[in-house]
Subunit: 387 residues, 2 copies
Amino acid sequence: MNVPLPERGFTDDEFAARTQRCQEAMAAADIAALLVCTEPEVRYFTGFHTPFWQSPTRPWFTVVPAAGKPIAVIPSIGGASMRATWIDDVRTWSSPQPDDDGVTLLVECLREVAGADGRIGLPMGPETHVRMPLRDFDRVRAEVGDFIDATDIIVGLRTIKSEAEIAKHQHICGLVSNAFDELPNLLSVGMTEREAFAAFRGEILRQGADDVPYLVGATGPGGIDDIIRQPSDRTIGDGDLLIFDTGSTFDGYFSDFDRNFAFSHADDDAFDAYRAVWEATEAGLAAVRPGATTTEVFTAMNDVLKANGSLGNDVGRMGHGLGMQVTEWPSHTANDDTVIEENMVLTLEPGLLWAPGKAMVHEENIVVRADGAELLSRRAAPEMVVI
Amino acid sequence: MNVPLPERGFTDDEFAARTQRCQEAMAAADIAALLVCTEPEVRYFTGFHTPFWQSPTRPWFTVVPAAGKPIAVIPSIGGASMRATWIDDVRTWSSPQPDDDGVTLLVECLREVAGADGRIGLPMGPETHVRMPLRDFDRVRAEVGDFIDATDIIVGLRTIKSEAEIAKHQHICGLVSNAFDELPNLLSVGMTEREAFAAFRGEILRQGADDVPYLVGATGPGGIDDIIRQPSDRTIGDGDLLIFDTGSTFDGYFSDFDRNFAFSHADDDAFDAYRAVWEATEAGLAAVRPGATTTEVFTAMNDVLKANGSLGNDVGRMGHGLGMQVTEWPSHTANDDTVIEENMVLTLEPGLLWAPGKAMVHEENIVVRADGAELLSRRAAPEMVVI
């Protein structure tokens, strides 16, 4: 199926709008400077996009002031790339330099931006971490004083997507839907799990994805006990079930959905379990609208699973936010209670144990519109497909 | 070229040996419990290997006691996978649970393992970070007291590879060497950078790599200004230079080397710059031996670059360790001074600015043997290849 190709990158206006929304939230929280140091946050404010973050060697910082553009405080190896973004103020040091790997430069910048009395924000809550050595962070904290937890500001910004961001999600979800549709032509009994993974990864790339950073799955005779595994040399046999779950990317934005298949045949109980998670997803789709809560969406899905004899599951939630990371805030859980807003991009991911050691998890991707859920992934078949 | 396929995974004996080496170092440092919470460290001690770490939602912990096997303190979604490793003691909680996302379970485990007076180690130094929300980490620190910096213990363990680890490096470096050798057949003037990246990524996977997590590169007329870029829609033209630098993986172990090409023709200065970094690499290869220092290796390479009129570079080092991450300790810098030991896996990566805005970086991968450097990557041609 043809999937329209959106523009890559973002306009300077989009970065300016993100920054302004951030600065309004900072003003409301009496925060004079916001420090971020993780890949999605730095990219969100600057547009700096590189897999270089996989190298743990160097810290990277961005400081959002009360007014004006963000300031990048980064290793010189990233200077040329950062200067090519909309950012004007790029401060670099030659890294690695273990004795002072940006600490002095960062402290100077924070003091300059926050002034003598200004409070400095930093995301310190759920799903965040400080990506720099603890020893160095303790030095920064000793110099500039305690940080204010700015998790809510970041969550408020990143969970509501722009149309440009949504277009990237639509694109990658369309490509991965195409690749899943091809699977019955690519897989067969007698292949190993490893061959099946390679065939699927290759197909997603052939469809036009930039990368397949997240690919997990498993096969098992009549059912699957573990849905986050890497492939083994196990040979797929008649009567096996297969799950593939992939987070693939286009221009730095993720899809994250799965599909389940049977080879040759499956027990009625397996078809019933598939039908249960498919119907739970229907219930989730119906429950999603601006103003509903993640807990209501969870309950809608969980009620269907309970009515179908679920033995529970180990996943801990039934879906989550989606964006520059394969999972983001919020979570559909029994007590998350996040109010769902227009233009959130979410997954619905009901799962159940339908027999001891046999799990079935289904997942779709949606964007929240004024009138409810709009699918990003192409809806799975209501009956499990047999290959 | 045929590349022998090593065994996947490791024997329980290998994990036991890693743990024993760690416990000897812990005893010497008077550390009763060691806490790690990042992917490579948890994998190093347990064998737990999943891309699930890309999800920032859940923290994962491993505690190494003074004697006996490590203990996993992890979200229940990973329980089945962790129980399939050599680890016996797997403690789980249902995550996400923002109010207490493993904090209580981790504190209990640390107290139990360290006892009333035992010191608790945690990597806090260069190239490490604490992968859990700062707010939660501060709670753990308030409960168990200050941690002792255990960076040196982890560095001492991870920088010295076993033969089983080295075999994985040999394999992926061989596959990527094959893929680089194919490039003149895959690339041509008139392709876009994006098409060239996709062709190279596809070829690496076709050769048998598990994944290509790190792929950067650039093209430019007569030279390249930035070596960590993502591809653009720029069309490759006659007289362009191209650099590709990839960290590809086999069974969780990385290659990390690059190659430079010219299309149709290049200036003499560009050929000279290529020759300078190639000869600097020769000097690095000759300088590597057990007992030499990273600073001596840096100086050997840097002297060649200076003699060839280098205007410096922005990279900050000329190579680094390689392993479960695309870059690891140590770094070849002017003052790193790490003593090189047998079975370290290293990159040699001399780079120079040969004209304003024109960079040339070359990279090879080696393992340190008793008598010096053994190449893992197939040595680049001494003259820049013209496509």
